[in-house]
């Protein structure tokens, strides 16, 4: 599934948050969005899942306007992993992951055999099967986040959005889940759009990067082309050295300790 965004704008009352965003997300590619805090990354994702409505501009999915789709259709097309701070109710891990099947299960129905199979497979792959019956409120931040990623994978959508999904996870689980996501991109031709803070992780895993600054797209394109020292200076206002690292298999940015600006 392809997503096209044209001239997208959004504002809170009189405060403009996003202006004139043009982006294309193609099938079977892994995109990362990078940018300083408050540049509108999360708001952009909110508009793309229609959690908020844009002030102007269009979003289309395979040439169909997003606004013409029902919420259920959107939930069957796009899944989102966001940071979850507000889990106060003791659902079990399995119950939380099963919620990913919500868009497919009619009201007042119980999950079918197919739903249960998908949930079991995803829990196995994401390494959370061991604590499937534990309450989510008892888990650590990283474990919770893995459950939320599993829930989004159960949603089984052609588009997967990740909003700083890995920031509370240790490196081992980050790599494990990134591998699962990457495999979904390559094998099932899914489109992944991930908001990252770690530039090097984004560079190593993504096909394309989108740099955002102050509500606008500063640059978007192939990872090897757009990740440059000049771009990091422009977007983050930091000095860096960007070199190809053979071990990582990607361009990596290095920063000098004790220097800023």
């Amino acid at each position: 599934m392809e997503m096209s965004i044209r001239n997208l704008s959004f504002s809170y009352d009189s405060e403009s948050v996003l202006q004139g965003i043009d982006l294309d997300f193609e099938r079977g590619r892994f995109y990362s969005i990078l940018g300083p805090n408050g540049c509108g990354k999360t708001t952009l994702l909110d508009l793309l899942i229609r959690h908020r409505k844009p002030a102007a501009g269009t979003i289309t999915l395979d040439n169909r306007p997003l606004s013409s789709l029902s919420r259920k259709e959107i939930a069957q097309t796009i899944s989102l992993v966001s940071q979850n701070y507000n889990i106060n109710f003791p659902f079990t891990v399995k119950e939380v992951v099963m919620m990913g099947r919500h868009p497919y299960i009619p009201r007042f129905s119980t999950p079918g055999a197919g739903d249960i199979r998908i949930v079991d497979q995803v829990m196995e792959r994401t390494g959370i099967n061991g604590f499937r019956n534990r309450r989510i409120t008892e888990l650590s931040g990283g474990e919770r986040q893995r459950c939320v990623v599993a829930r989004a994978l159960c949603q089984d959508t052609p588009l997967l959005f990740l909003d700083e999904a890995f920031s509370s996870m240790d490196i081992s689980h980050t790599l494990r889940l990134l591998s699962i996501v990457k495999e979904a991109v390559e094998r099932s031709n899914k489109t992944v759009v991930s908001v990252f803070h770690d530039i090097n992780l984004a560079s190593a895993w993504s096909d394309s990067l989108v740099f955002m600054k102050a509500g606008r797209v500063a640059a978007a394109g192939d990872t090897r082309e757009v990740l440059t020292e000049a771009m990091l200076k422009e977007v983050f206002e930091v000095e860096s050295r960007v070199v190809f690292n053979e071990y990582a298999g990607a361009r990596q940015a290095y920063f000098k300790a004790g220097s800023h600006g």
Binding site: R71, I78, V96
Partner: protein, 349 residues
């Protein structure tokens, strides 16, 4: 290998609903037999069966006084009490889910303060020549408070959600504080009649009529239907609005509908019986220990448990204690320590 959790727990929930319903019916019969005049259980059952059957042989044989006591005094009180217990409990479940806060209760948004304010105004006006219906004013007070709290916390259509839980809770606290000051002022003005206000505020089911029963039951059935319809959506909303939205829930609509439903349930309860604390807070917590947090199970079970507990408390104050004490005082005295225990226990876990 996997076991479909919902299939099994559905059966378990069904069993618990049956068990709780059975307990509630038993409780209603036992409570109807207790009081200043003890009446046999079989007579109660016969009387009710006779009434339901259009007045048969059983009724004729029974003493007319007993019939009046049961049918016109005790049963309206008992059924109103059970319905209010159920309504407050459902309201508690809804508020806790919407506000993402297990410590929210039906009165968090200031609905009780609004109702109390309305009731005080009515009582003050009644001191003059005209008789003003207190429940009607209480209900109007509760509803207008809800509207005002929603107006205060409305953040505009461009925000993530029209109502954020924090701003709702804060607005509720602010409005309740202002109304409490207003109530204090009216108590001061009421002079010698202050006791009428104070007794109303402490809650009571004394002298309830069949019209109270019908009113509360109508709201309860409507509220239960709406809550069950949106119970699955509420599960998702209670884990965060953004993720609920990405799973296909119209969070704005669901939040608004359930907020109004919960408030109306609380409003009708307060207007009929005064302020009864702790039921809406405590019951969902107790039931969650058994059923887990899934609102599809929590809502019906909490309703039944709330009805049983409040009826139990009212029966104690009406028929067991030497003097009737206000039900709101009793629920707080009994519910408070139990809540402390549950809270401490959950902290330890």
């Amino acid at each position: 290998m996997s076991i479909p959790v919902n299939a099994i727990s559905r059966k378990g929930t069904g069993f618990l609903v049956l068990l709780f319903s059975f307990c509630l019916v038993g409780m209603i019969v036992v409570s109807a037999s207790m009081g200043y005049m003890q009446i046999g259980l079989t007579e109660i059952v016969g009387m009710v069966a006779g009434e339901l059957g259009g007045g048969g042989v059983c009724v004729e044989r029974l003493d007319a006084t007993l019939r009046t006591i049961v049918m016109e005094v005790r049963l309206p009180r008992i059924l109103t009490c059970a319905a209010v217990g159920g309504a407050l409990s459902i309201s508690g479940v809804l508020f806790q889910g919407i506000l993402l806060n297990p410590l929210a209760d039906p009165y968090t948004l200031g609905v009780s303060a609004g109702a109390a304010f309305g009731a005080c105004v009515a009582i003050l006006l009644s001191l003059g020549s005209t008789l003003v219906p207190v429940p009607l004013f209480a209900f109007a007070g509760a509803c207008s408070t809800l509207l005002f709290v929603m107006f205060l916390s409305y953040t505009g259509k461009n925000r993530t959600s029209a109502f954020s839980s924090n701003s709702l809770i804060l607005s509720g606290i602010i409005v309740a504080a202002i109304l409490s000051a207003g109530i204090s002022f009216m108590k001061y003005v009421a002079d010698e009649q202050v006791s009428v206000i104070i007794f109303w505020l402490m809650g009571s089911f004394a002298s309830k009529t069949w019209s109270d029963v019908v009113l509360t039951l109508c709201f309860l059935v409507g509220g239960l239907g709406i809550s069950l319809f949106y119970a699955r959506d509420l599960n998702l909303v209670s884990l965060g609005e953004r993720s609920a939205s990405s799973l296909g829930v119209d969070t704005g609509r669901v939040t608004l509908i359930l907020l109004v439903t919960g408030s109306l349930l609380a409003a009708v309860s307060v207007s009929v019986s005064g302020i009864i604390g702790f039921v809406g807070l405590l019951v969902p917590h107790m039931v969650r220990l058994v059923s887990g947090p899934d609102n599809r199970k929590l809502i019906p079970l909490s309703m039944l448990m709330g009805a049983i507990l409040l009826l139990g408390a009212d029966t104690i104050t009406r028929a067991v204690l030497p003097h009737e004490i206000p039900i709101g005082v009793l629920t707080a005295l009994m519910g408070g320590p139990v809540f402390c225990w549950i809270f401490k226990r959950s902290q330890r876990n």
